[in-house]
């Protein structure tokens, strides 16, 4: 029986405290692309969650698009010749 709301019933066995939730929400806010514009201004938890959902959806779309692109590129390019370059590219962060 788990409560889903932010103000969950405080039982003695609550694993995650409200402070920790506040911290998690601000960490999420920092990840969002909007935070580059907003800076560190506090945004409501509801807005952070909304933006997070939109962000995840856009990332899913990006993965789909990139998969399409890679699929088409692999059909036309010989991958084995590019492998060394790819690996080098990937492993230098």
């Amino acid at each position: 029986m788990s409560s889903r709301r932010l103000r969950s019933r405080q039982s003695s066995s609550t694993r995650i405290t409200e402070d920790q939730i506040i911290e998690l929400v601000s960490k999420l806010q920092a990840l969002l692309p909007e935070s580059r514009i907003r800076g560190n201004d506090r945004v409501s938890a509801s807005k952070v969650l909304q933006d997070t959902c939109n962000y995840i959806k856009s990332l899913h779309r990006e993965v789909d698009d990139l998969s399409e692109r890679l699929s088409q590129m692999l059909a036309t390019t010989e991958m084995s010749s590019a492998q060394a370059a790819i690996i080098r590219n990937l492993l230098t962060q």
Partner: protein, 150 residues
């Protein structure tokens, strides 16, 4: 138990993710090479296979400690395309203009694999980790696409 503690590498999980994905890509490419010439249908199928490989790479890098990665690995083992994020034209419930955190959390639970019944605090924690790996995956795929372009 942290991978980061084991390797001298600052970001071993990201490298694991990249290499796992690259290996899957090579396998998919090999499969495709057998069936030539490539049809349009084959390309579309390849796209879906690559998408699956992308999420598999993320899940492997995250390890079994996360509900979302377990959900993905389980779904892949059942050889089914995980529905929440591979069916594009999914009709969600009508979007109500509520500011309620609860309804936002519900939407997040639908987006995140394995999060249906998750308690709120864990949901946020899982989301952070999921986004971390998701953005890493986008970066990996982008780099590969760039490399293949040259």
């Amino acid at each position: 138990m942290h991978r980061e503690a084991l390797a001298g590498n600052p970001n071993p999980s990201r490298h694991l993710q990249a290499l796992h994905f690259l290996g899957a890509l090579a396998r998919i490419n090999k499969l495709r090479a057998r069936k030539s010439p490539p049809s349009r249908r084959a390309t579309a199928l390849g796209g879906r296979r690559i998408t699956r490989a992308a999420y598999a790479a993320m899940a492997v890098a995250a390890g079994p400690r996360r509900a979302w990665s377990r959900a993905i690995l389980l779904g892949l083992r059942r050889n089914s395309i995980a529905k929440p994020f591979l069916i594009k034209k999914r009709i969600l419930k009508p979007h109500r203009e509520l500011r309620d955190v609860g309804s936002r959390a519900e939407e997040l639970r639908r987006l995140l694999p394995g999060a249906r019944r998750m308690e709120f605090g864990s949901l946020l924690d899982e989301t952070l980790n999921y986004i971390h790996h998701l953005t890493a995956q986008v970066g990996i795929m982008q780099k590969i696409a760039d490399s293949l372009c040259k």
